[in-house]
């Protein structure tokens, strides 16, 4: 039901037809996503999926939602956010205006977390660029409506992250979902941007890219690191996921480790 050749052909077809480049993604995870897609779209094999990609215009946007791993949560790894608040924000505060890039923002929980922390740190002049390749994720992120149960769990992470108010101050609760205040997104620009194929789009003071690189093979990770290096201003910060590291990358010497455990780096001053 699952042949390697069909797998490669499908990935190739997606790339040439839609310019979504999954060729350097870790294969195991992608294969599991596709196995789920077979069930969801009632296909017998990957050939059928490929036929649909070729012939049905509406199919691809639905498929893409299945190909990416979207798991996320608010204040994921609270120590990371606490460290940003304590070690990075005081420094960023000295800039007249800030540009922050959240790459691979998924359904927006990380964006809300940042907005809340910036607000509590009294940082007002900033823009957050929140990017992802999955259009459905971006749509959900813009709405900022989340499951009540999920937000309830996030409340303890918010405190662990050093939150100074109450998470409930930032949303309106409805029956089984909550709506975060749209103010939190007023300085946020959501856009479709692929770390695998797109280029630098602005100069950033802080880039947060978490739990995206673990799905990439080494050469693609390397591409992304170069992109981040080019995008960051001198002294700019880079934050990665808890299982991601700059240690084995070619840009490692241009960065200093600010918080090893929480994977926060600062681009070193190079004369």
């Amino acid at each position: 039901m699952f042949s390697n050749d069909d797998f490669e052909l499908l990935i190739q077809e997606i790339y040439s037809r839609y310019q979504y480049d999954f060729r350097l993604y870790s294969k195991s995870s992608l294969r599991r996503r596709l196995e789920q897609a077979l069930i969801k779209f009632h296909c017998q094999n990957l050939k059928e999926i490929r036929m649909k990609v070729q012939t049905e215009k509406e199919f691809f946007p639905q498929l893409i939602a299945y190909l990416t791993v979207n798991t996320t949560e608010m204040f994921r790894d609270p120590g990371y956010f606490k460290s940003l608040r304590e070690n990075v924000f005081p420094y960023l505060k000295t800039f007249p205006s800030l540009k922050i890039w959240i790459a691979g923002c998924s359904t927006g929980e990380e964006v809300i977390s940042f907005s809340i922390l910036l607000h509590e740190a009294g940082i007002k002049r900033f823009i957050i660029y929140a990017t992802d390749i999955n259009p459905m994720n971006l749509e959900r992120a813009k709405k900022a409506i989340y499951d009540t149960e999920q937000v309830r769990k996030a409340s303890s992470s918010y405190y662990e992250a050093g939150g100074t108010g109450s998470l409930a101050d930032y949303y309106q609760a409805a029956y089984d979902s909550v709506q975060f205040n749209q103010d939190l997104l007023s300085n946020v620009v959501f856009s479709d941007h692929s770390l695998a194929t797109d280029a630098v789009f602005s100069e950033m003071h802080l880039i947060s890219c978490r739990n995206v690189l673990i799905y990439f093979e080494k050469p693609l990770q390397e591409r992304v690191f170069k992109l981040f290096d080019e995008s960051l201003v001198r002294d700019g910060f880079l934050g990665l996921g808890s299982k991601e590291t700059l240690q084995f990358s070619s840009i490692k010497n241009k960065f200093e480790v600010r918080d090893r455990e929480n994977k926060i780096y600062q681009k070193a001053w190079t004369p």
Binding site: S26, S28, R31, T71, I214, Y215, K218, K243
Partner: protein
């Protein structure tokens, strides 16, 4: 299959990776078998043990001291090396890729488990086919059965801890019922089997 026949089968299939899955009672069981791996130029071992999600993973430290293989927590993208035992980090799935690297993922838990034994086994089956050996030990759930079935269907070899000996028999029992495992062994037998396997030389 007898011990000797199984050993011959492993050698003729040139087993390269050994994937181990366990849950409740797993630390003690792993302490019995992981030290069996002696210096080997061919075997790599990857282990999933269900752990509470948060907090630092102390398991690799625990095993460093008693194993002759090098022990480490797996990192995403690192290459699979012989003579190493890799543990999945808490709260991440671990997979073995066909380009002989390891990868991590925070995909949804599978059957309430992250890391999932099924995911590790399934990836080893796809990437190493008949060169994969899966070992399922004590545990109180059903993780691992589907993964062993996948290893079996790709021609790999499956070992199951004898449920009557297991501290928590549910997991090995579930697997023993569903597949024609190549062998059901108690830990003592498994230990000597793995010692012999890691000592035998094949290309």
């Amino acid at each position: 299959m007898s011990h000797d026949n199984l050993l011959r089968k492993c050698i003729s299939q040139k087993i390269r990776v050994i994937v181990v899955g366990t849950s409740a009672g797993g630390i003690d069981a792993l302490k019995r078998i992981l030290p069996s791996f002696k210096d080997s130029k061919k075997l790599s071992v990857a282990v999933v043990i269900h752990l509470p999600a948060r907090g630092p993973n102390l398991i690799p430290e625990l095993f460093k001291e008693i194993c002759s293989f090098k022990v480490k927590e797996a990192e995403s993208g690192e290459s699979l090396q012989p003579g190493y035992i890799y543990f999945s980090p808490a709260d991440y799935h671990l997979s073995i890729e066909s380009n002989e690297t390891l990868s991590l993922s925070s995909e949804e838990p599978l059957n309430f488990s992250r890391p999932s034994i099924d995911i590790l086994f399934d990836s080893a089956a796809y990437s190493f086919e008949s060169k994969a050996l899966g070992i399922l030990l004590t545990g109180a759930n059903h993780d691992g059965t589907a993964g062993l079935l996948k290893i079996q269907s790709k021609g790999g070899i499956c070992l199951i801890q004898d449920p009557s000996e297991a501290e928590y028999p549910t997991m090995p029992q579930s697997a023993a019922k569903s597949l024609s495992a190549n062998a059901i062994m108690n830990l003592k037998q498994m230990k000597s089997f793995l010692e012999e396997l890691s000592r035998s030389s094949y290309e």
